[in-house]
Symmetry: C2
Subunit: 280 residues, 2 copies
């Protein structure tokens, strides 16, 4: 019997850190991934454009008849969840709510820090999600625009520029005495060590991707829609540009080699949006 | 009598540093600018995608009946000049050749450094352009992927992260004893001071944008197509996303406020490519 996959989209390759967590937690599930590497990044773009791109990404993946859609991109989750929920016929799980939920559980009333892209932070989505669960919790949000290019360049937690950038962005958060920090961008787990070393080991680090995998598991369990346990899940990746770069840098996010990557023509995902729009 | 403008396109807002030089040198000319802020940056994308985007950008601007087209984006100039030359019916000036020419004139046989985006450097376009003028000159090319986000974040030459990044990227160039460095990206002139301080004041800095304005002037002079001197040129800007961010950050590149910015719908510039293609 054919298995309906879990579909995952992202602005680029960062969402592979969410895929890594999904594979760890749900190794029997088939996964299909789309990274919009032709138009990456989303984090400096407007709500309108991010929503348009996110819908196109998601609709490209609908052709695989997924049982669930994961918006692995924090920016897309922060700016376009309403549109995705409204326009798609499958359940959608974003990364913001799961991350916010974990942060509130760990905060015990102390201030919570959220770091992310320019667009994620200025959207206020994490702050709103945290406040909806715990109205009194203080949320301090900080954009860290250098972290994505630092990670993509291959710089890790030991790199002097990384250390200086961490110190520069996070010193107000350390001074505020945060108990919890949410890594509100799929790239940031790769700088986890530098962040932990600077903030102190007692500060809880929430990886939204990890929490999202947990949320996906819960949704599928409730719907009794998990795969059988006697199979091995597959991973198929599609990108809108540059599969070579995706494979090279993405393997660090996935923590293993990426085997199947296919280049998608612009017409394919833009056209899929058009044809789907007609059905509405 | 209506005046044909000079058209300038770029992946985003960096090309405004070229516009600044054009306005300084040719204050009577009308300029029309398109920044593809929905798909920025180009510097991490494939040749194929950059060529497609560059053609779409240029074709959008053809509706203004320009007398000349400037590919202000170094990545587009490095990866797509052949396609632009071949497919467009107006003269096209890119930023690579003018930058290379100036570098060779200043090098006096010593090694030349070129810095730029990942895609510009790995294309080898500057190296090829320099070697075609002076086959023996040693060219050392270095990608500096953090410079663009550093500039866009508003960090200047005094910023500690900028200084550390400059030192990290440029130390091999300083050790090689370069006499000339080409700033092969429209964002880099905003870090000129930090680069000059690190390499030493005796090293010549070539700004490709400035050299390109000079080249545009020469082309129009030869064609006897410069505007009359008793008028003031205008500037009209179009972007594919986020005019507010374009205006806010772009004014630092232009060195003055940006007055007219219009948002272009994706269909407009993608459609313009389609209709133009039909004519061929």
């Amino acid at each position: 019997m054919a298995v309906n996959p879990i579909a995952v989209f992202d602005s680029g390759l960062g969402g592979l850190s969410v895929v890594r967590e999904l594979r760890r937690l749900l190794p029997t599930e088939d996964l299909v991934y789309f990274g919009d590497t032709a138009r990456v990044p989303y984090g400096i773009k407007s709500r309108r454009t991010v929503a348009k791109f996110a819908l196109e990404d998601a609709r490209f993946l609908l052709q695989f008849d997924p049982k669930l859609m994961v918006a692995a991109c924090n920016t897309a989750s922060a700016l376009a969840m309403d549109e995705l929920d409204e326009k798609l016929s499958v359940p959608v799980v974003g990364v913001v709510k799961p991350g916010a939920r974990a942060a509130v559980q760990l905060a015990e009333g102390a201030p919570v820090a959220v770091i992310g892209t320019e667009a994620t932070v200025s959207s206020g989505a994490y702050t709103a999600a945290i406040r909806s669960l715990a109205a009194q919790v203080e949320v301090i949000a900080q954009a860290c625009p250098l972290f994505v290019p630092l990670v993509e360049e291959g710089r890790g937690s030991d790199d002097p520029i990384v250390k200086l950038a961490v110190e520069t962005y996070l010193s107000p958060l350390r001074e505020a005495g945060v108990h919890v920090i949410v890594l509100g961008c799929t790239h940031y787990p790769l700088l986890r060590e530098a962040i932990a070393a600077y903030l102190g080991r007692e500060v809880h680090i929430v990886e939204s991707g990890r929490e999202t995998a947990q949320a996906v598991c819960e949704v599928l369990q409730r719907a009794e829609n998990l795969c059988e346990q006697d199979r091995t899940g597959s991973l198929q990746c599609y990108v809108s540009d540059n599969p070579t770069r995706f494979r090279r840098i993405g393997s660090r996010f996935l923590d293993q080699e990426i085997e199947h990557v296919e280049l998608v023509e612009p017409e394919q995902y833009i056209a899929s949006a058009v044809s789907d729009r007609k059905k509405e």
